[in-house]
Subunit: 202 residues, 2 copies
DNA sequence: AAAAAAAGAATGACTATTCATTCTTATTGC
DNA sequence: GCAATAAGAATGAATAGTCATTCTTTTTTT
């Protein structure tokens, strides 16, 4: 049976849809129970799909985890360049717009999963590789967009500042996840203060 | 059988020893596999103890997790006052000594477990309560020891600065755990820079 | 001998994964 | 246009093993 190109495209699209359906369900389960606490049968139930059918779209549970890690960061990866490539004059407004992107880290829905990914990266090399790749891109973009507006700073110190901003980002996620009383606005306020002081010349 | 007071004390001591034996083993297992990845039988094997015997010292697996969370932070809880109560003149040396305590967060052996605790706090209210209690004590001590050496700063901004330092601490743990190439020294250097800038008056 | 400590087998529920089976959809010969 | 046919999609029961927890038995201490 020779499939037409049209039918093939349709099938591919449906496969993509089903994969997303599984990932959406897995995201909910993993957020609530963690990677190892969540079971395939509960993921299947959340996806309105039979257990066995999931294995048509993912080789195993780890493949779901990896795919989810990649999807999870892809959103943030798009934000920073959007703020950076705006080629606005590097001034106060630019920094504020730049900082505003970091609410990504403080989203109470996303934060638990992000933290789970970080914890898993400590024991799963594949996850660590995904995290590392994103991290390198993140720093590279930050460096490019922030370099013009900081004065003549020695290279080492720039790395320290970038590292501090990365640390603050992860710290926000940790705080939002672990403290049920943490308010995103106050966390962001602290982040803003810290970033301003880190980027100040002198 | 009438136990002498001496025998009773001896028994209590041995019980404490066995509890630590379990916690040490659980710590190793949890670090390597996470709270939900580690099994009671592997914890028992790591503790050189039978599975059933663990239940003499802990009601269930969750009780081990809670006890470990408490024990894990107790070390850091003692460090900060030690640096603060030194009643040295509040100067550069004091801040450096104060900062030095934060290598606790960057210890590659401890960090994975700390991160696991934070992630677990997002879904387990009991764990969240332990984390919250430590966090409040942490801030209180920081506030007391740092207040004298910062100038006249409005109250809100002090909270923001403390929040930023907490975020940086958790961020260090996240970075050390998730990035196999992260160097503790460079992480601490970035932390030092950020703290100095956060504590600077003006 | 009495009591506590420790072991380890038993339990029953749950695990990730596989597999034979059925249901749906698409393509072919007529 | 319409059966016949083939393929893909989807199911849910079966597998082999592990899980946390409990229970009974044995060993050690007092």
């Amino acid at each position: 049976m020779v499939s037409t190109a049209e039918a093939l495209a349709r099938r591919r699209q449906r496969t993509e849809l089903r994969r997303d359906q599984v990932l959406d369900a897995a995201e909910r389960c993993f957020r609530a129970e963690g990677f190892h606490g969540a079971s395939m049968s509960r993921i299947a139930a959340a996806a309105d799909m039979s257990v066995g059918h999931i294995y048509r779209y993912f080789e195993n549970k780890e493949a779901i985890i990896i795919a989810l890690c990649e999807r999870s960061f892809s959103g943030f990866e798009l934000l920073i360049p959007a703020a950076a490539d705006d080629d606005a004059p590097p001034g106060a407004a630019f920094i504020e717009a730049w900082i505003a992107q970091f609410v990504w880290w403080v989203d109470p829905v996303r934060a638990p999963l992000t933290l789970e990914i970080m914890a898993e990266a400590g024991r799963n090399a594949k996850v660590a590789e995904v995290v590392g790749r994103i991290d390198r891109r993140f720093r590279e973009i930050m460096r490019r967009s922030l370099l013009p507006l900081s004065g003549p700073i020695p290279g080492d110190e720039i790395d320290d500042r970038l590292e501090a901003i990365v640390m603050l980002s992860h710290g926000m996620t940790s705080r939002i996840t672990a403290d049920p009383k943490a308010e995103p606005d106050r966390i962001i306020a602290a982040f803003r203060l810290a970033v301003h002081r880190l980027l100040a010349t002198g």
